[in-house]
Amino acid sequence: MLGLVLAVAIISFTLLHIAPGDAAVVIAGESGSGDPELLAEIRQLYGLDDPFVTQLGSHLGRVATGDFGQSYRFNESVVSLISERIWPTVLLGITAIFFAVVVGIAVGVYTARRPESWASHLATILALVGFSIPVFFLGIELIILFASVLDWLPAGRMRDLRFEGNFIQRWIDIGEHLILPAFTLAVLYLAQYSRQTRASMLETLQSDFVRTARSKGLSERTVVYKHALRNAVIPVITLAGLQLGTILSGALIVETVFDWPGLGRLAFESVLARDAPVLLALLMLSSVLVILANLATDVVYRLIDPRIRVGGAST
């Protein structure tokens, strides 16, 4: 597992290193153009003239001690930059996934129980739509509708900077800003969870142990909610746990569209600005998150059902 993180670090560093373009020019550009002397100074300061292996070695060495260096773009350490931006992403990601899990399971159970009702058909279609719609397209259309035309909700950002109020009022303010981005991000997950729940429910309801339970005269409610649902929920929780690990990628577009001050937007802007130290840190952070999410899911999974071991998902 450490090996995995190391591999990610090496690959991303190499990738950023072999790419055309000179980091010194980028840095010089950020400070407002620059001349050859400045370039030379910068190269020296950041060790850009050293051989590749030396640079890689010193990068890994520093990373091992928790030092991710200075952002090229901001005159600030990568660690403090990321620690500023991580909470908005966590808030957005957890809200979206929680919403998606709850609603997804509810919808999935309903459609599995009454597969032929019109509501089920509608839900099935909506799930497909959620699955197929480009996230940014959904986001833009929601902004046009709710922020521009109807003017019900803020179009972006996380809080009103001039808002004054007590703790609770501030959170309500944040909550208002959170609705559109969290919903947009949740749509994709929601589609997956409801489909997954429905599939597992159907499968479970046809399985032997449910038939046995029914034949023992247990009420349909007990069968559905006690036995079937428990089995059906497991894969959804697994999925949600794993996806929490990939939240950075999922949030990238949503944060960009909604101007949400989190890691996703930071990642995108860092790519465009060629801010290599920030990118390297984000790629590593994201990989670590995925790995941790896998481990955590594994643990939770076993707690829920000790008989089953996660196969494909464990890393």
């Binding site: 055309p20 373009g21 020019v25 980028v26 010089a28 550009g29 950020e30 400070s31 407002g32 153009s33 001349d35 050859p36 370039l39 100074e41 300061l45 200075q70 952002s71 773009r73 901001f74 005159n75 600030e76 930059l81 500023e84 919403f99 709850v102 609603v103 399971i105 509810a106 159970v109 902004i143 922020a147 521009s148 109807l150 003017d151 019900w152 909700l153 803020p154 179009a155 972006g156 950002r157 009103d160 900077l161 001039r162 208002e176 007990t222 909610y225 006690k226 649902l229 428990r230 929920v233 569209v257 909604f258 101007d259 001050p261 930071l266 802007e269 790519v271 465009l272 600005a273 060629r274």
Partner: protein, 597 residues
Amino acid sequence: MRISVMRLLALLACLGLLAAACGGSDSDSAGDDAEASADAEVEEAMDDEEPADEPEPEPEEEEEEASEPEPADEDEQAVDTTLDEEELEEIESDDAEAGAVDSGPIAGGSLLIGSTQVPRHLNGTVQSGLATAVPGTQLNASPLLFDENFNPQPYLAESWEVAEDGLSVTLNLVQGAVFHDGEAITSEDVKFSIETAQAGHPFKTMFAPVTDVETPDDHTVIINLSQPHPAILLAMSPGLLPIIPEHIFNDGTPVAEHPRNTEDFVGSGPFRLVEYEAGSVIRMERFEDFFIPERPYLDEIIIQISPDPASIVLGLEGGDIDMSTTLGSAANIIRVRDNDDLILTAEGHEAIGPVNWLEFNLEDEVLSDVRVRQAIAYAVDRDFLSDVIDQGTTFPVTTGIVPASPFHNADAEAYAADQDRARELLAEAGYADGELSLAIDYIPPGQQATAEYIVQALQDVGINAELNVSPDFPSWAGRVAGGEHQLTVNQVWNWGDPVIGVHRTYLSSNRVGAIWTNNTGYANDEVDALLDAAGQEVDRDARIALYADAQAIIAEDAPIHFLSTSPFWMALNPRVQNPPIGIWGSMSPMLDVWLAE
């Protein structure tokens, strides 16, 4: 146990849906109310806004991001008098109205500025650009301010004197001025700031002739020059020479990398930094011990950074944002213009003077032929670009010095659109229809519209043109600085005096491989001599003549086809009084800005 968990989940789901539904209707009515009241206010308070007719272009936005800054300029005087006047009237009427109602400025309040510009840090002695200058000029004071006629006004320097021979400048600093940490601002700090800028600011020409700075006492600064330097006073503007505390920065750490450029910021200006989230929020509070009494009026200025101009426009419309100069596309500018609740003005920022142009790499074999360059110039119709593509948000220019500048030469060859002439010249140069292939670079993404039009214009005269895409600014800058391109759309700022913003493009000695230097490879001894002379000439008329000749020669040689200038379109909430519409616009301290209501 588990059953209850599941029930809870289901319950939560239902509650969630319910809440969402209720929330929806609540906010619905709330929204309506808000809207209604907003409308009412508008009707009451304002019938007067409506802004200008011209909007502005978008290249600026990106470009700035990139680093030099750039937006727009102002050529209203020259190009579009009507508009200006209208705008002026508007703004004036606004002020007048507010004044009538409130009988004078009100102290207090919080001004929220929306910007797409992300600063690297806030120390303008070593960093150019709008991103740093807008907050930087609030946080640090400079020796001089400038009025709308480019005349110096006292600021940290209560008086100043340029020696007869033009070889020294003496500044007399105000008494009692202090930094945000309470330390006195002395001549040593000014000396340190000048030396820091001389060594580290990207505009090398600003202080290049400075040989040394003397500090006979705490409040006197004598700047000695190796040659007369007509731009020396302008170089002491707020955006170009912020005075920084020597006792903090003179500790051996390179100033450009100094942590105090953003952390525990100690400045000399009217506002002090209270919150800084890199790339997101800059919050500044009134500095109580500022040396000008009763200024600033505002309690607080917040700069909210959003990479997407659309969210700024929506913020302006919702009343969350009070002011912005980074509106993005022509569509956004027009939307603001057409909004009765907002004011749009092209006034202000005259000193910046961004010029959009198409430049040639003269070291490219094909483009080394002046006939090819002239043919391209004839093929690209700048009027169409400004009027149609930019929808009137930019104004055509014919030389590299904006029309608002006294040094502009209106008689230089303009290359008015003429496709036949373009074809003739191509034929003369030996290229039949379809024989010539060219790739066009541009600053992504803001100048893509211009570049796409140019591709089409060149195809129309039989050149196989295509775009060469750079995914981001650094890639573009690397290509152009390294001379890997053929043609590129570019935007370069005049920066008030040609010595600062114009010479750098043409001087053959300035071919140094960095962006926004001589990137064309242009070398003309005559032009070099003219510019050198103009750079030392203190007599204004003589300077004008020298620049006129230089512009005429450059036009003949056609290393660059000049396209347009983009005003800094500023969107304002009508409650903002005395908006920053001086020559440096929002890149100057907002001492007199106040909020009505």
